[in-house]
Amino acid sequence: MMNIYKAPWFWAWVAAFAAFGATWSLSAGGGGGMALLVAALTFGSFSVLTGLGQMLVITMGPGNTDLSIPATMTLAATLSLKLMNGAGGVWIIAGLLTALLIGVGVGIVNFALIRLLRIPPIIATLSASFLYQSLAIWSNRGLRIKPPQALADFTTGRAVLGIPNLAWLALAITVVFWVILNRARFGRRISAIGQNPRAARLAGVPVASVTAATYVTCAVMAGLTGFLLACFSGGAALNMGAEFLLMSIAVTVIGGSSIAGGNSNVPGIWGGALFMYLIVSMLNSYGLGAGVRLLSTGVIIIAIVAIASGRKARL
């Protein structure tokens, strides 16, 4: 039984609560806290969904990072919204399937570049992302097509307990990821590869197929996030995924997963995602300029990672 403050995700949650309290204390009315919480859960959900996929990839060890997440989000969102063209019913299913299938396709291409052409993952996913981004530009020239009303209502709605629907969806997917990583053979294999790929291979782990499945999962999560974000914000935009490149990595690391791989942490993703949203809100609310804001964000992230890893080192 370990003390809770020694858990890798503990400090991300502490920081998120602190940022929430600091912002809330400024709000004039009593309702401000609820509005801030709803906003943090809504926008945090997108970071969680991309972060979960990125976490799996990072867990596979040094050098494994998927830099094609932004382009995949844009491509999936652009093509699925174009297909639906605002129509409801069966078209919503078709749109969702399109977004997920694009994720599958992207994951396979990424893996093929890494495995068959032996290109390092960072280079492979970055260069492939130019291809995906160009496809998105070519397919729709950056025009914003409105999502079907039912999807817009769902993604902006708060049907149960006043919590955003997106947050419930992200929570459900998070639970699935927790089970996969901690209870299923697939998750154990990812961790084994991350800890020592050679030992994993010798122990009979099918490294190639596990790697392929991981990159596909990550890209499918990116496709799903792009689809949801476009429905939420009223259409796909060519630069819609830009901030999720670093965000997906940041929430993974702040959440207590090891950047060197082999050790992942699902609850920390939520702490990291909420923190990353709340810290910007907090610094905005205190009226700090963009320069100070970026600087403070960087310093605080370094502090959290340092504190969290310091605790681990003494275990």
Partner: protein, 333 residues
């Protein structure tokens, strides 16, 4: 000589015959640093539409567009050097940086190439600048709000991408406007990066800590996101200055029909690339053109909203393709 060239060019424009203008054998290149948003896509489409016709009409020999992949000054400098080697007569630039390309631009000038920068301009003296008075745009927003809200009030400012000169200039203009109208006070400021989803996210985060807001000053591409954030928490809708995006205009029209909502919308038209094209053509034609030109804004008011909405492609940006006559007007001051 120059007058004859002008008349010939005009004749070509009017008649569309195969008559040769003085610039008929000239090659013009567009060096563009970024294509990843709807404004830039509209800009490239406008360039293609206008230059295709100009080439077909025999006004110029070719007008090719090139975009760098990474939005970086070093990459664009290399691109310009390639254009020098390829022997273009004029290079039209939307620059990644106002200063970092100056070396490459100087090389082009020294090789006898006409360089015209627009939107993202360069400071190198040998180049022409088709610039937007972004300060006036920021100041104009406050002046508009002053006519609507004589008693003043609290404002929210949505800024663009931190570190880009356009953001600083619009912000400075808003500052000038505030100095002239001290009854307005900016109580909150966020960076919306000229993107609806980023603006929505940032505004939703700062709103809980803000008092009542009467107006939102923006930089374009962020008004719809701001409106969504206000609507999501059920706060009274302030006057949000829009930036000519179709989703902004559509939302505005819906609010007008539902609740007599009134605002204004202003931005630089993506078609400014075609204005720069005609300016380059005029310089090649031997015309006297001042080095610093100012582009007019494209503004949409309550009265022109329906027409603008009709003319703007679904999901696009309000634009205008400039003509040779427009360019002459701008050159004439």
């Amino acid at each position: 000589m120059t007058r004859k060239g002008l008349m010939l060019t005009a004749a070509v424009m009017l008649a569309g015959t195969a008559a040769m203008a003085d610039t008929a054998d000239k090659k013009i290149a567009l060096s563009n640093n970024y294509a990843g948003n709807s404004w830039r896509q509209a800009m490239l489409e406008s360039w293609q539409r206008v230059t295709e016709k100009a080439v077909a009409d025999g006004v110029v020999a070719s007008a090719d567009a090139f975009t760098t992949a990474e939005n970086q000054a070093t990459e664009q400098a290399a691109q310009i050097q390639n254009m020098i080697l390829q022997g273009y007569d004029a290079i039209v630039i939307n620059a990644a940086s106002p200063t970092a390309l100056n070396g490459a631009v100087k090389e082009a000038c020294d090789a006898g190439i006409t360089v015209v920068s627009f939107d993202g301009i360069v400071t190198e003296p040998c180049a022409w600048r088709v610039a937007v008075d972004f300060k006036a745009m920021g100041k104009g927003e406050i002046e508009y709000l002053a006519t609507r809200l004589p008693e003043g009030g609290n404002l929210l400012e949505i800024r663009g991408l931190a570190g880009v000169s356009v953001d600083d200039e619009i912000h400075a203009g808003i500052g000038e406007g505030l100095a002239a109208h001290p009854n307005f006070k900016v109580v909150g400021s966020v960076n919306g990066d000229w993107a609806q989803d980023v603006a929505q996210k940032a505004v939703a985060g700062i709103l809980p800590s803000l008092p009542e807001i009467v107006g939102v000053v923006t930089q374009g591409g962020d008004g719809y996101g701001a409106a969504q954030a206000f609507a999501a928490v059920g706060r009274p809708m302030p006057i949000i200055v829009m930036g000519n995006r179709q989703d902004e205009l559509k939302w505005w029209a819906e609010q007008r029909d539902a609740a007599q909502y009134e605002t204004m919308s202003t931005s630089i038209a993506p078609g400014v690339s075609t204005l720069a094209f005609w300016v380059a053509q005029q310089i090649l034609d031997g015309q006297e053109v001042p080095k610093d030109l100012t582009v007019p804004f494209l503004s949409v008011t309550q009265d022109t909203l329906d027409q603008a909405l009709k003319d703007t492609p679904e999901g696009g940006v309000t634009s205008v393709d400039y003509t040779l006559d427009d360019a002459k007007k701008v050159i004439g001051g």
